[in-house]
Homo-oligomer: 462 residues x 2
């Protein structure tokens, strides 16, 4: 960047909001893909939408590339800076500005951590529909920019479904404000939908209006052993019909996943014998309570859809069941490297895709640990493949080959190479596996229309 | 249009799919706003997406304006042709192509009537989340193009929330296909969101993949008398917390509305005395059944949020309660003219907005019938204002003045001039009441990027 632009940014934002060199904190520098820091030309820390607008106006005039940063918890490399970029972090635009109890909405600045929003909603007697593992660090602006998913998408939808209003700044500094609180509002193009999930390539989200939900009430947690994916989908359908919106979560863990949890992670075997697929489910049964859940599970067992089941009798019990689902967070302690996938497969194809992945792994990486788990209800599975030679980190070339092979399986089953993590920089080479040339051309048309100089998050998504 | 283009269209689509002159049916000609037919230059009746693409390619090359038509039930004048336009009707692209019971999705051609989709979903053991009064005539393509609302938005969201995949044809004939069945799919820009609700100005929807829902089970219908809007919102919040997704519908009818139903329409007074606001609600209570509903209403009455209540004991009872809500469908038999509004007001402002509307009516149109009713949960109210001199149709000038006055009240309360009907041609002059100049500029940028020659539904929305 030019010294003139740096001076102009300092004049517009104040010197304390423009950091360079060693003043830039490590968190704003780290590049997960490269595994090392890449220092941006400058780090901007605006406190207001006007400051964001001023910064973008100046960068736009100068043709200066800008990477937008939220909580830096993304898994697709979208927010990690390149050395010629200005990093624009929303971290100082933080706070819940309003909870409207009549409209059941919450308005927050983009840099507000998700956990802060969840707590504010609960304190006001509501429930925030967005939840994911990174809740303590991720920001709502990042959640919106990436259309974040999580464990409760079955119940509350993706982030997109929870957003009623948005304020965003376009590449040239134009501020778009639609802090809408109304469920129905068909006044022209719903432009916020375009910004949600575009990973900062079309504009910078500065404020968000979320729809809040009633608190779900007491939740029952159960671990179910299913003989097949088909049976698990049957269980999902039946529990959905029985409990409606009370069905909060439905997470699948295939046999190898549980085997790894037991043999590598040292967790106790949950059932007497292995089963093809375990399901961790959470149900808010409402009136009738826990008894209704055990009754429903009893019928599912009689019908052969569930072979065995554990219903948590306490918070400790529930934590023990959750430990299986969360065991991948600790894989890094045991594995020299991991190749991690976040893909969607249409539900009817999921069993076949898992079989194909198993066959692929057996043939290509017979010594590598490979596990499949994830959000069955949302068609979303995660796959982890360990080093092909145990104890030896997978080389970048080998990793690319692994990705190409797995994404071919995904494409074969008409799946999505990114279910909830987004494309960022890491999955850009594979976007064409899930999108047609016409779709990609349309995306480029939209990008050019909204960011003609290509200054926003260049090299991400497209 | 040029004879050369007409010949080319006949060659591409077949002469039987290109009608002109007196061969064009009345339904494809009528202009609701003008109150008389306006005959398009030609009516195209393609049977396939390829035919739609061929037609648009030819029209695009020739710079020929095209108006897209579905079930012709829209209320914003979007589909009514102008004389220089080619009308493109999707009515022959009709049929449910697939129901995927594992993914819980339904794929249909755009011209399929909504009622046909609803019936197919029920037959397969599912429930379609989209429902509105025009269900027998409206088409799913039109529902998507206008992001249709209806009575169950509280439960299932707008049409947008029910669409998983889309096939659409761009202005230049490019076919975009994303017949996605997966709940999570973050692969680049979610372009379908831009087409949903853009009222045919950005492309022509040809196929839709809908998410289906579990059947809700038996539904209880009740009419509640509330002392105030504030009390009604309290009832909404409490019933939402109690019944979750079992709360299917929550429709408000203000005092004047019920008074009109009784005095003008001849319906029996529902309660012994008038109340500020009646609410028609439908609840699928699940286990516990009707008793749970009466119990919940009992508590609401004890707490003073509900002053009186009628719970339907039979289908006939329910129909009698529904008759109030549906009485506006028959207003035309009693009134020389009606000025109808479909607006949203943030819930916290709704009582004040109704008070302002009453004051406005008392001052400006003291002799005109004016009623307010609608989907409180969705922030959406409808307003009907009868002729200012009873028995004398409102003049076009007077109608415009009425619209301007009402939309000023809406804008004052940060509301939306179109909740669910869309902008079309009729509300185009008022779009700026609900959108900022920056938003309108962005909409124009998107329009220009996707339809550079401006051939798709010109003069609608923007």
């Amino acid at each position: 960047m030019t010294p003139a632009l740096l001076d102009a940014l300092k004049a517009a934002l104040g010197a304390a909001s423009v950091l360079t060199g060693d003043d830039i904190p490590a968190r704003n520098e780290f590049d997960q893909t490269l595994g090392r820091p890449t220092r941006p030309a400058a780090l901007l820390l605006p406190r207001t939408t006007d400051a964001v607008a001023a910064a973008l106006r100046l960068c736009h005039e100068a043709g200066q590339p800008v990477v937008t940063q939220g909580g830096m918890t993304g898994l697709a490399g979208g927010a990690h800076p390149k050395e010629d970029e200005v990093a624009l972090s929303l971290e100082r635009m933080r706070g819940v500005e309003e909870i409207d109890p009549v409209a059941a909405t919450l308005t927050a600045l983009a840099g507000t951590p998700l956990a802060e929003i969840q707590a504010a909603a609960e304190q006001a007697g509501f429930h925030c529909g967005i939840d994911l593992g990174a809740r303590g660090s991720c920001s709502i602006g990042g959640n919106v920019a990436t259309n974040a998913g999580g464990n409760n998408v079955l119940r509350y939808g993706m982030t997109r479904h929870n957003v009623l209003g948005l304020e965003a700044v376009q590449a040239d500094g134009t501020v778009l404000t639609s802090l809408n609180k109304m469920l129905k509002n068909n006044t022209g193009y719903d432009w916020k939908q375009l910004f949600i999930g575009s990973e900062g390539t079309l504009g910078v989200v500065t404020r968000v209006v979320l729809a809040l939900h009633p608190q779900p009430g007491p939740v029952e947690t159960a671990l179910l052993a299913c003989p097949s994916m088909e049976a698990a989908v049957g269980v999902l359908t039946r529990l959905g019909a029985e409990f409606g919106s009370g069905l909060m979560m439905f997470e699948g863990m295939w046999a190898e996943f549980i085997d790894t949890a037991v043999t590598m992670m040292g967790l106790p075997a949950p059932f007497e014998r292995p089963h093809e697929l375990l399901v961790l489910t959470e149900i808010a049964p409402g009136p009738g309570g826990a008894e209704r859940v055990t009754d429903a599970l009893g019928v599912l067992m009689e019908d052969g859809l569930v072979e065995d089941a554990i219903v948590a009798r306490s918070g400790n019990d529930a934590a023990r069941l959750w430990a299986y689902r969360e065991s991948p967070y600790e894989y890094y302690k045991h594995l020299a490297s991991q190749t991690i996938f976040d893909v969607s497969i249409p539900r009817a194809d999921m069993a076949a895709a898992v079989a194909d992945l198993r066959a692929l792994a057996a043939q290509r990486w017979p010594s590598a640990m490979q596990v499949v788990f994830g959000h069955i209800a949302d068609s979303n599975i995660h796959i982890v493949i360990g080093p092909t030679v145990p104890g030896v980190p997978t080389s970048p070339d080998e990793k690319r080959a692994t990705e190409a092979a797995v994404y071919d399986v995904v494409a074969h089953h008409a799946g999505s190479v990114s279910a909830e993590h987004g494309i960022g920089r890491n999955k850009r080479p594979y976007l064409a596996h899930s999108r047609t040339p016409a779709e990609l051309a349309l995306m480029r048309t939209l990008k050019t229309a909204l960011d003609p100089k290509g200054i926003l998050n260049p090299g991400r998504v497209l």
